[in-house]
């Protein structure tokens, strides 16, 4: 399977890359290549020029910055999954990364690339939504911060403009919160048939705040606000009931592997399990 021909550019700096994007109409950005290259091989994408970010220094790092952890856009999933900083300060992101695809995919795929691709069953979208992460993007007209909750606009579409490049993702420290990412893998593709990210805070035996997001079920990952509302201010015992709202108001996807009905059921089961796991991990 061979992609259509294209020109290849391999800029050494971000500003060179931004100039290329601004000057070449249907340029595509190549990060880890695990969304773009498969699409190009199937000729679902046939850009005339590919701008490879792989040789730009300074986009691959994980560091603490005040009350946030900053992850460079070109950081591969494997590095997020094994990051000591994240294991302590934001384990939800590391958990989600560790469940993406397989070893080889995690060695190549990047956080920026995955977010920009906005696959309906990707794992990171659920994680960044539950974390209220910020996605930083630059273009020749400057830098802007996109809240994750406003970033995804639909299947494979985001708020990013074609002349913009994601530079980093900022996530909050979540020490003190109960978090988990729980996923039902598609056995062949490794994508989430259902993936649920949970971040809750307890106050005594009650749930003080809840951020729950779900991928794989709808056209794009979403915040399960009906579940969040059913949890907020309630005793811990309400989990199973609240999880039943997992796919409320969502147009549920259906395919050969999982019908809409089955997916809806899995969404409820995995939301409950993710909540249980989060509470267990934080010692109830």
């Amino acid at each position: 399977m061979i992609p259509a021909n294209f020109d290849y550019e391999s800029p050494r700096t971000l500003s060179e890359a931004l100039d290329l994007l601004a000057s070449r109409q249907d340029a595509k950005i190549l990060a880890g290549g695990h969304s773009l290259l498969p699409a190009m091989k199937l000729r679902l994408a046939a850009p005339s020029v590919v701008v490879d970010l792989g040789r730009i220094a300074g986009l691959n790092h994980i560091r603490e910055s005040g009350d946030r952890i900053v992850i460079g856009a070109m950081t591969p999933h494997a590095d997020v999954a094994s990051s000591k900083i994240l294991h302590v300060a934001c384990p939800l992101l590391a958990q989600a990364a560790s469940q993406i695809g397989d070893v080889q995919v995690r060695n190549r795929g990047t956080i920026g690339g995955s977010l920009a691709a906005a696959h309906p069953a990707a794992d990171y979208p659920a994680a960044v939504l539950a974390l209220d992460a910020e996605i930083m993007a630059v273009s020749r007209s400057g830098e802007r911060s996109l809240p994750a909750t406003k970033f995804f606009t639909g299947m494979f579409t985001t708020e990013l403009r074609p002349d913009e490049i994601i530079t980093e993702v900022r996530v909050p420290r979540t020490e003190g919160a109960s978090v988990a990412y729980k996923k039902f893998h598609h056995p062949a593709s490794g994508y989430a048939v259902v993936g649920v990210a949970v971040r809750i805070k307890k106050a005594g035996t009650r749930i003080d705040s809840a951020a729950i997001s779900i991928t794989g079920v709808g056209h794009i990952a979403y915040r399960a606000t009906a579940v969040e509302n059913a949890l907020r201010g309630k005793p811990l015992g309400v989990i199973a009931e609240a999880a039943a709202h997992a796919a409320e108001g969502v147009e549920v996807l259906s395919d050969y592997y999982a019908s809409a009905e089955y997916r809806r059921h899995l969404a409820t089961v995995f939301t409950r399990r993710a909540l249980e796991q989060a509470l267990e991990a934080s010692g109830k």
């Binding site: 294209f6 391999s10 290259l37 070893v103 080889q104």
Partner: protein, 165 residues
């Protein structure tokens, strides 16, 4: 458009002008003539094309040759030292870790990545490490045994070397 690329493969530089759309796996097989790396699916699913790129296991059907320019690749041909098989290859031999052998190069390279980071993996670690590799013959059990066998051998060699010092 053609691009000049130089890829270090198993310690040897290979220089060639290529179309940017050339996949690394085709560079390895057709430009460098190293056909040990197999193509099973070409859709990032089977893992038969796995090689090490700068030491990390990747699916060479999902990397462009131009992305590997200036980097180093290890293929299955790079494992043995002359006639002396690598501990992993011995492990696969001794434990019957292969039948038709189609998946084997990918299994070996993935296991290599695993053992570099976890010299004494559990069965669960091994199964997780080869999760992206499909085998249609063995049922995986002997592959798991083979990797364990190799890890024991490598541990022994390390302690023998330490003892000799």
């Amino acid at each position: 458009m053609q691009k000049n690329v130089t890829i270090d493969i198993n310690g040897q530089p290979h220089r060639q002008a290529v179309e940017p759309r050339l996949l690394l796996v085709h560079f390895l097989r057709e430009v460098a003539g190293l056909t040990g790396t197999h193509i099973g699916c070409e859709t990032s699913l089977c893992g038969a094309c796995t090689v090490l790129l700068d030491g990390r296991a990747v699916k060479s059907c999902t990397v462009l040759a131009v992305q590997a320019d200036g980097r180093s690749v290890t293929t299955v041909e790079g494992l043995a030292q002359g006639d002396k098989l690598h501990a992993l290859q011995e492990g696969f031999w001794e434990e019957h870790g292969l039948q038709c052998g189609f998946c084997t190069p990918g299994m070996l390279m993935c296991s290599h990545d695993l053992l570099a980071n976890h010299p004494t993996p559990t069965s669960a670690d091994i199964r997780e490490a080869i999760n992206g590799n499909v085998c249609r013959c063995t049922g995986y059990q002997n592959i798991v045994n083979a990797v364990k066998n190799a890890s024991r051998k490598m541990a022994k060699r390390v302690s023998a070397r330490a003892g000799a010092r």
